[in-house]
């Protein structure tokens, strides 16, 4: 068995408001987490995480912001809602993970770039065209990570092109984007401009 990691709570920086800042809707409190571990037992990705879901929520309760935001765990969430559906305390865990990702992207956490660039590339294509364009999205994603990774998908991409599942479309990189106005308005309302 691996040696148990001990976190000295008096020696680390903590933010007791962390949990409150994350919870998406009023009246739902992470503090009601009873550490039963149903979330970890239900998570299809738990085995690959550096911090299991149960432990991560405890760390959130304790306000260990840096440790949680720099962990790989949130990026392994496939949004299957199993933990949320089964949580005996009724905490919207899956939707709270979206908030963790928000904070990690805002704080430009560097460790998990392959995941954060996925969100940023998707968002930029959505903003420009109003609808997803898979080929442009994947091109942007691979170019902002390791372009050589794309080679691993070349065979599959070729098959999908031949079957007509992927449509090559010329990118439209100038002029206003289809959802620029809405994106800008949202940013303005959230005080990000």
């Amino acid at each position: 068995m691996a040696e148990r990691e001990v976190i000295n709570l008096t020696a680390v920086k903590r933010d007791p408001t962390f949990g409150d800042r994350l919870i998406p809707a009023a009246g739902q409190q992470l503090s009601t987490c009873i550490q039963c571990g149903t979330c970890t037992a239900s998570c299809p990705s738990a085995a690959a995480m550096d911090i299991t879901p149960r432990k991560m929520w405890r760390m959130v309760q304790l306000g260990l912001v840096d440790e949680v935001l720099h962990s790989k765990s949130m990026w392994l969430c496939s949004i299957c809602y199993q933990c949320q559906a089964r949580c005996p305390s009724g905490i919207p865990l899956t939707e709270t993970i979206a908030k963790l990702k928000q904070l990690a992207i805002q704080q430009q956490v560097k460790e998990w770039r392959t995941s954060t660039t996925f969100y940023l590339a998707f968002s930029s294509v959505m903003r420009r065209y109003g609808r997803m364009r898979e080929m442009e999205f994947m091109a942007q994603y691979f170019l902002s990570n390791n372009p050589l990774d794309a080679l691993g998908y070349a065979g599959m991409g070729w098959t999908m092109l031949r079957r007509g599942k992927l449509r090559p479309e010329l990118p439209k990189l100038t002029g206003p984007g289809r959802l620029d106005k809405l994106f800008d308005r949202v940013a303005e309302l959230e005080g990000k401009r």
Partner: protein, 289 residues
């Protein structure tokens, strides 16, 4: 019955066969379906990660378009991720402060969302509005001798799919039985397909796909009701075989394609040639040319 239809990005591109077969099947059942004009992306699981308000404003834009057209007509969606985006927004907008803020954002699109229009998943429409009897009544070529493994995925039934059990759903099995197919039940019917992990963390995602394919293998094919699930299960079988260390191969069909086969609809509308894993073994078993 009349519905507004929100295709979403995938059903216009990678999953065009889902859209085409859904239209054909619903029409055969006597439904009138009209596509929502000027729709835009629901934001998927990405917009809520960019910001709370963006995650609500993008789905709400489409809900507002539907309400402007006809507030009484329900929206039907085939994509479980779109379904979840809409339901998440509908739930959040019950808070009047949230609704007001969404509408402040929608001002730039000259739209107002009232929180009235209802959104239904295709599977819900099939099992609730039509049901096994009406579906069976349209069957011209029963799927005799075909064994199908239902695969619901996550977001079809969790957390907003109140039409079925979130852990052990049965609605697809009841539709398949109405078509004359034999149902192969397995332990991963509502397990996760790995979603975007197939791209960002393939070592983890491929195991999710491989485990589903593995338990579904005794069937002739898998039936899905989500473009994302279909993409992952159909396109990654070679990679999943390598990850699992065993050969995994099984055709993956969209549920309305199976409805189409049983209703005797033209193969052209069901678009089987678009699949990565060939569907021919399924067609051969049913003696369809």
């Amino acid at each position: 019955m009349k519905y507004l239809y929100y295709p979403g990005c995938s059903m216009e591109a990678t999953a065009l066969e889902y859209k085409s077969s859904m239209y054909a099947a619903l029409e055969a059942l006597g439904a009138e379906v009209e596509e929502l004009e000027d729709w835009t992306c629901c934001g998927a699981s990405v917009a809520p990660v960019m910001s709370d308000l963006l995650g609500q404003a993008l789905p709400a834009r489409n809900l507002a378009l539907a309400e402007k057209l006809d507030g009484n007509r329900q929206i039907v969606v085939g994509c479980s991720a779109c379904f979840t985006s809409f339901q998440r927004t509908i739930a959040a907008a019950k808070d009047r402060a949230v609704l007001a803020r969404i509408n402040q954002a929608l001002e730039v699109e000259n739209l107002t969302y009232q929180g009235k229009v209802q959104v239904r998943h295709l599977l819900d429409v099939l099992i609730t509005d039509f049901g096994p009897q009406k579906i069976a009544a349209q069957v011209k070529k029963p799927l005799d001798g075909l064994t199908v493994a239902p695969y619901y995925g996550c977001q079809t039934v969790r957390p907003y799919g109140t039409f079925d059990d979130p852990q052990y759903p049965t609605s697809m099995a009841r539709v398949l039985e109405a078509l004359g197919a034999k149902v192969h039940h397995h332990l991963r019917e509502a397990a996760c397909c790995g979603t975007a992990l197939l791209t960002t963390k393939p070592d983890v995602g491929l195991i999710s796909v491989g485990q589903i394919l593995d338990v579904a293998q005794p069937a002739d094919c898998i039936a899905t009701v989500c473009p994302m699930c279909h993409m992952n299960l159909d396109s990654y079988q070679d990679k999943a075989s390598k990850a699992m260390g065993k050969k995994l191969s099984i055709p993956v069909l969209f549920l309305p394609q199976l409805l189409g086969l049983a209703f005797g609809l033209p193969a052209g509308e069901l678009m089987f040639k678009r699949h990565v894993v060939p569907v021919e073994p399924v067609l051969a078993r049913l003696n369809v040319a």
